[in-house]
């Protein structure tokens, strides 16, 4: 017998190994080396979380009790995957386009971004998943107890369950909520799951091979034993065969964890094509040896042995401790991977559809007030994960890990399957409405609870025996196990049949009888026409929404770097420079999708609605859009795409023309500026030279006037130096003296030379400045001095303050100089880097207005960029430099 200590030791090593894999995958993916992790193979393996401990251990038990019927659990998903072209491809395409984060988000988004629907689906998912998590905890404790038999039992089973739940919570929080990814993809988790998928497959195959060729006498012998075993007495039930196949197919599509790995984590549509054959193959291999193990187990092991544990007890009875250990790890992998993904999927749903909407409502004005929405979302996800695992643990404790758990797999499946009619309706039927969806879901949920969930706890636990025997209010046709007086059906088939039927009926009837809201119609067209190219129907009208405000809000939600990226890309697409695109309807829609990735569709819509209120989305506008027929819409979409292209081209041409005109004007202005800058000092020099020649001049005045001449000469020299510097830089003839230097030293040096600390308070983040960069330190110092002196000159508030913020990414480094003054007018933001451009009174500047132009040239010679950063209250300049 294997010692329990060894077993726990090996399990801990295995867990540590999984942590290592996940950690390493996250690192690789951060460093941009994660390409190979997004392969179809990893994608397929991640789908294997469909095979939980219920299938790993339970399939053999299922086969021992009901023969070939266990196969239905695998045949359903096989059909769904082989038919990927029809449903899965559509789901993935829609989820990509609409930045869907979960199945609750899918339905909420489809039916007019309804917060209510999202919340309802979330609750259904939690109710349906909690027993399933309890089942996984139970399988871990039961499998450990097999090894503990006959030894001193140090760990009670509740302890094991508790520690397992806690460990899973830690893993999920560390790798599932590390960052708020716009795409909700988690490379660490997916990688760990892929590893677990291989472990469980190998374990089951190893046990199978051992049973067939080690315990039995090969394939022929096993086939003979099958026909001789009690399993061959099994008779197929048409209802159960069809019902269970349907149920497993439905659950495969609707389970929150399956939706997470299959749709949300999908990085490329083509991976589905590979998974369409590879995953059925995985399922085939997983079930290949189930019947042989069941048959041999029934044959060899003493009568009354639990067939759910044959996978473990068969190797143990043959003293194959290593194999038993592998089998245990396989079961452990099945249980843990399911719990981890389920917890991630559910926590996303809870935070996006329950916590954030409530939080936003509680804050009254929603997104328009400052505050970090990101941290709220992350914290709520972490707490949700702990909550979900606590619920699972409590369910396990309360149900006592008894026989009631055995049928839990199917009960959960049936509960989750209630989402199917609404989901399919949502992606295929344009007439489906929110009212219909709510009616269908609630109806399905009620019928499922009444006919399956509540009775599953046994009579007198949640509902009375009286009710089971005579129906609600004594009405025979309302008996939970024989609705409408139809008796003799298998209970599972009965419950699935009625719940799905009434669900679909309510959904269709509700949809036909109700009128969709304008937003619903728009979303319906988006979802149904997922495969038509071209720009989508418009959700937003062009409004006076200020792009700068939007940027401010987006930064708080998806983080500064990502928001700036999104805005810059959008601006470029519109043919504009800088960070502020025009708030066109298309841009608002892109932005809304970006935000939806973090906080869910309904919330994102509400936030943007608040920002754009007054200037956007009147009901009439939406009606006008939605009332168009599909053909007109498609036609206008095509026209729109073309006219959009023309607009962009025209804008580019106009910009180019403007630029040329401006350049010509600038050239004239430049010459006259130079003339002015040269002649002014020369005027003083000439005037005083003439004065000095006067023999009558008082001796005391001579040195004074000579000094003026000297000062003005220096001014001339400085100007000429600047001009030459600029010309050399502009022509790229500059020779840079590149060497490694510390950013901190350069900033220190600049601060000392600019003597900036005396006139303005400088706040630096000392901790982040320890960066060694390959640059020309003298040139970079020159740039920093210039920016610091600018802040001193132009920041006119009682307590001037300059923040210098250093940010590091693997590929670039940025240094922001942000003061608390009035900033630069929007009109001048484009001009300040031009020669002789001064945003205000020129005497104050003291120089010729070449400083920023020189800065720009130096930075571009160093391979970086300098630009004005809008939306920071004061004047803000950002320098970004490449790293190595």
């Amino acid at each position: 017998m294997l010692s329990l200590d060894l077993l726990i030791f090996v399990s801990l090593i295995y867990v540590a190994f999984l942590f290592g894999v996940a950690f390493w995958a996250e690192r690789a993916s951060d460093a941009g080396r994660g390409g190979w992790m997004r392969t179809p193979l990893i994608y397929t393996l991640s789908l294997s979380i469909y095979c939980t401990a219920w299938t790993f251990y339970g399939a053999v038990g299922f086969a021992a009790r009901s023969g070939l019927e266990f196969l239905t659990i695998y045949l359903g998903p096989t059909v769904v995957l082989i038919g990927w072209w029809l449903i899965l491809r559509r789901l993935v395409r829609i989820a990509r386009a609409e930045r869907i984060t979960s199945i609750a988000d899918l339905l909420s988004s489809r039916f007019g971004k309804s917060a209510l629907l999202g919340g309802l689906v979330t609750v259904m998912a939690v109710v349906g998943t909690t027993p399933y998590i309890a089942l996984q905890l139970q399988s871990v404790t039961t499998s450990i107890s097999v090894f503990a038999m006959g030894t001193q039992n140090i760990l009670s089973s509740t302890n094991i369950a508790l520690w397992t739940a806690a460990g899973l919570a830690v893993f999920t929080i560390v790798f599932g909520t590390r960052n708020l990814d716009v795409n909700e993809r988690h490379s660490g988790v997916v990688m760990a799951i892929a590893v677990e998928a291989i472990v469980k497959l190998l374990a089951l195959l190893a046990v199978g091979v051992f049973v067939v060729w080690g315990l039995a006498g090969g394939a022929g012998d096993v086939l003979a034993r099958i026909d001789a075993s009690p399993i061959s007495q099994w008779e197929v039930s048409t209802g159960r065969w069809i019902g269970l196949t349907f149920l497993s197919a439905a659950a495969f599509l609707c389970l929150p964890r399956m939706f997470q790995v299959m749709v949300v984590e999908n990085s490329e549509e083509s991976h589905l094509a590979t998974a369409s054959w590879a995953f059925p193959l995985y399922l085939l291999l997983m079930s290949l040896f189930v019947i042989p193990i069941a048959v041999v187990g029934l044959d060899i092991l003493p009568a009354g042995s639990n067939p759910d544990l044959f996978v473990l007890t068969l190797p143990l009875s043959a003293e194959q401790n290593g194999l038993a250990m592998l089998a245990f790890l396989g079961g452990f992998s099945s249980a843990t991977s399911m719990v981890i993904v389920a917890a991630i999927a559910l926590s996303t749903m809870i935070s996006n559809h329950i916590v954030t909407p409530i939080w936003l409502r509680a804050r009254g004005q929603g997104a328009t007030i400052s505050g970090d929405v990101r941290s709220v979302v992350l914290i709520s996800r972490r707490i949700s994960i702990i909550g979900i695992l606590t619920l699972g643990y409590l369910y396990y404790r309360i149900s006592g890990g008894g026989a009631a758990l055995a049928s839990i797999g199917l009960i959960s499946f049936a509960g989750i399957a209630q989402i199917l009619p609404v989901m399919l309706g949502g992606i295929f039927w344009q007439g489906a409405t929110k009212i219909g969806a709510l009616a269908g879901l609630i109806c399905g949920l009620l019928v499922w609870s009444y006919t399956m969930f509540l009775p599953s706890f046994g009579p007198e636990v949640l509902i009375s025996q009286e009710l089971i025997d005579h129906g609600l209010w004594g009405m025979q046709w309302l008996r939970p196990t024989a609705l409408f007086g139809i008796q003799g059906l298998d209970p599972v088939v009965h419950a699935v049949f009625w719940s799905i039927l009434l669900n679909s009926f309510a959904f269709v009837a509700g949809s036909i009888l109700s009128r969709p809201s304008p937003l619903e119609r728009v979303q319906a067209v988006q979802f149904i026409s997922a495969f038509d190219s071209g720009p989508s129907a418009r959700g937003w009208q062009r409004g006076a929404t200020d792009a700068e405000d939007l940027l401010g809000m987006a930064q708080r939600i998806i983080g500064a770097a990502q928001a700036q990226n999104l805005f810059r890309t959008a601006a470029q697409r519109q043919g504009k420079q800088g960070y502020l695109p025009d708030p066109t309807p298309q841009f608002l829609e892109t932005l809304e999708r970006g935000l939806a990735g973090s906080v869910g569709a309904a919330t994102a819509h509400a936030m943007l609605g608040q920002m754009a209120r007054g200037s956007s989305v009147t009901v009439e506008d939406l009606m006008a859009v939605a009332d168009e027929t599909a053909q007109i819409m498609e036609y206008s979409n095509q026209l729109e795409a073309k006219s959009g292209e023309l607009t962009t081209t025209a804008r580019k041409l106009r910009d180019a023309n403007n630029k040329l005109t401006t350049l010509s004007i600038q050239k004239d202005a430049f010459l006259s500026q130079i003339s002015h800058e040269l002649r002014t000092p020369m005027t003083s020099i000439r005037a005083f030279s003439e004065i000095l020649q006067d023999p009558d001049l008082a001796e005391g005045d001579r040195p004074k006037y000579a000094r003026i001449i000297e000062d003005e000469t220096q001014r001339l020299t400085r100007l000429l130096d600047d001009l030459l510097d600029l010309s050399v830089l502009e022509n790229g003839q500059v020779s840079l003296e590149l060497r490694q230097a510390s950013l901190r030293d350069i900033l220190d040096r600049a601060q000392a030379s600019a003597n900036a600390g005396q006139h303005i308070k400088i706040r630096r983040s000392a901790g982040r400045e320890d960066i060694s960069i390959l640059t020309d330190p003298d040139r970079l110092t020159q740039v920093f001095i210039n920016l610091m002196s600018n802040a001193v000159k132009y920041c006119e508030v009682p307590q001037p303050e300059l923040r210098i913020i250093v940010t590091e990414t693997p590929v670039a480094m940025t240094v922001d100089f942000i003061d608390n003054g009035d900033g630069v007018d929007k009109a001048n933001q484009d001009m300040i880097f031009e020669k002789f451009a001064r945003a205000s009174d020129h005497t104050k500047a003291g120089g010729a207005g070449l400083g920023l132009a020189i800065c720009r040239e130096i930075i571009s010679n160093l391979g970086g960029q300098i630009f004005y950063l809008p939306g920071q209250r004061g004047a803000a300049f950002r320098i970004s430099l490449p790293r190595d």
Binding site: V79, W85, D227, V236, S270
Partner: protein, 89 residues
Amino acid sequence: MIGKRDQTMKRAANAARGQRLTDSALILPCVGMILFLLPIMWLRSSEVAPAAGIATSTALIYLFVVWAGLICCALGLALLIKRFGVGRS
């Protein structure tokens, strides 16, 4: 002129092949479903005359063979769809 005609022919052939592949992709799951539901009928027959029923081992082998066949078809279809880039917009 000929080049242009060739191109048109090629495009038409491509479209037809795309249509055939799309149709196959939709028909395959239906075929699978029907084949998977077949055991209901013969296993039922064992009730009427036990001797005429089909042995469980045979049913098992049938199901796995169908399953493997479907996987092969799906594999072939996936390769063709990827190769010809069907369904890409």
